[in-house]
Symmetry: C2
Subunit: 362 residues, 2 copies
């Protein structure tokens, strides 16, 4: 049986869910792929770190975390290493980087990834910051060393958007990708349609754990802007920065606007969209005007986040609650649409597992 060794940087919700998923899927992976996965090192922010290149006892470590103990208390291995030291000392094939997202400078995620590549590890991440800010450099560094840099979980949790486009639609020319990419705002807009005002809907989203205590990143559209940036750079081959994404959130949408839309059979959705600059069609007042653009995404507003009125019966209109969905516009197939969960620790950990299987089984 093939064994793959993983070092885990970050042991919050997603890191723990990934460790649990590796436990839960032990039999599945052995039967289906003749594969075993060992986690040899874990570095968390509050629960300490531990490295044992023979493999760590996951059930005990997850139990320790749940009990509020340091994870190093329940197993043998090298303890009290910094995350960087742990990655450097780990004899692993893959770094799974799931530390918190930082859209300002991408740290410490970017640093962890650089060290992993320097030590000949593949990298899987769900950390949006480094991918949004530094994808092209990291990808090229990996490629030069014949390593893989996998990012499925950065856009719509485990719903397989990146691999769908990169693998299944490999033969297609993508002209645009648009969609509902944030569950919190979609939930708020749906609740407003049921009669809640914005403040009450936001409060409910916070109570359900969808929205953060400081909801700015969601409701102002910054989270979606990061995902749009990832789709542009990682999928459509652009090289744009965060400032190139025009961004408007949902805070100006009033109950009155939502109800008027409803009466007309429409819904507001916070839509992230990226149009492929290589074969752009700009929609100008309902007509399509062909615009030739020399470099991908040279025009600022080709990557955008904004509330858009859509038909309630359309695919995007049909996404309710915290559902996410994308419309991928292709040359040969026209629109291909995919929807699934856009958040959740276990769902996001599934994206890491998908990337791992892609690295190992090709």
């Amino acid at each position: 049986m093939k064994n793959v060794k993983v070092v885990l940087a970050g042991f919050g919700v997603v890191g723990e869910a990934f460790a649990q998923l590796i436990l839960d899927k032990t039999e599945f992976m052995a039967e289906k792929y003749d594969l075993s996965v060992s986690i040899v090192g874990i570095a968390g922010a509050s629960k300490g770190s531990v490295l044992n290149n023979d493999g760590l006892p996951l059930a005990e470590i997850i139990g320790a975390k749940k009990a509020g103990k340091q994870i190093s208390e329940v197993c043998d291995g090298e303890k009290n290493l910094s995350t960087i030291e742990l990655i450097e000392k780990a004899k692993a094939d893959i770094l799974v980087e799931v530390t918190p997202t930082n859209f300002v400078d991408g740290l410490p995620g970017t640093k962890h990834m650089d060290i992993a590549f320097d030590n000949n590890m593949n990298v899987i991440t769900v950390n949006k910051g480094p991918v949004a800010l530094d994808y092209n450099r990291l990808f090229n560094k990996a490629k030069a060393k014949k390593l893989q840099f996998k990012i499925e979980g950065t856009v719509v949790a485990g719903t397989p958007v990146i691999s769908l486009i990169e693998k299944s639609l490999a033969g297609a020319d993508i002209s645009s990708i648009s969609g509902v990419l944030n569950g919190t705002t979609n939930y708020i807009l749906c609740e407003m349609e049921k009669g809640l005002d914005y403040e009450s809907a936001l409060k409910q989203a916070q109570e359900l754990g969808y929205a953060e205590t400081d909801p700015t990143g969601d409701v102002e559209g910054h989270d979606v802007a990061g995902k749009v940036l990832i789709l542009a750079n990682a999928i459509l081959g652009a090289d744009i920065s965060y400032d190139d994404v025009s961004c408007e959130g949902i805070t100006k949408i009033t109950s009155q606007m939502v109800m008027k839309a409803k009466a007309e059979g429409n819904r507001y959705k916070l839509i992230g969209e990226v149009i492929n600059g290589k074969n752009v069609k700009c929609k100008v007042q309902g007509d399509e005007v062909a615009v030739k653009v020399d470099s991908a995404l040279a025009i600022n507003n080709l990557a955008s986040v904004k509330p858009v009125l859509v038909d309630s019966n359309s695919f995007l209109g049909s996404l309710t609650g915290a559902q996410n969905g994308l419309v991928i516009d292709t040359d040969i197939l026209g629109e291909v649409c995919i929807k699934g969960p856009g958040a959740g620790g276990r769902e996001t950990a599934f994206a890491v597992l998908s990337d791992l299987l892609s690295i190992v089984t090709g």
Copy 2:
């Protein structure tokens, strides 16, 4: 640049569209994958056959076909070979098998595929008959010779359902797959909702080229049953036969039933469904009752085709006209849904291209 050689059995709508797609995508494949594709042999039913292991001039051959000429008239090569002789003599990496579907015994498609495997070629097909009737044997034969047997185009044309499940959802346990898998019947049901009676809607579908002159295969559900069988055997690892699929078409659906459903916010859809016998949950009168089944799909009605009332605002309810869509129920992500075109020569040829890129680029 890597060159891959293809022999093409079948030169009808899909075969011609594939040749055209290879022409149209020459630059795309060179730039994106450093790949060139040569078609070295073509065998059609009515337009003759030609083999030239140095590669055939596709533009001239497509032109000849459109002009009603024999394709061998416009190029050098060995002519008047039977399809079997042509496959045997072709120095090709891949057989693209796109002869007409035969659900009775799978011939001549199955024979062509066997010969290709015997001659160490990979096989890509959109031919439902051999895949529905003989998937497991053909797959195992390919596997024993370390060859690939790719079938993306057999289920929903180019919409990437097979690769989505096999690659992107590789880490998931699939409990069921259900969906709208036939454009003709979906079109008819949608037109009935607009006020046409069944006969008029069928006539309109025939005029638009969706339905055959003899529409039995579509309206009685046989086409969907074939696709359900493919999903069961090729994707869910079952080993069932056509007779194991319970099958009811749309011919008993009246305008009155459609209008009553509409008034209640529902729609009839012809749903093909396969439930994974390994972890089956039988839905009994709204409640879920766990049923343990020893062998996959041992219970006859786990693979079925029948008209089902669905909520008009649901994902399946939202599929209009000739659209196809699937709901894939997974252990970790819950429902993942995909929709796209389910028919069309160029769309189906795209599935062949996807399979080819998967074989060549991994």
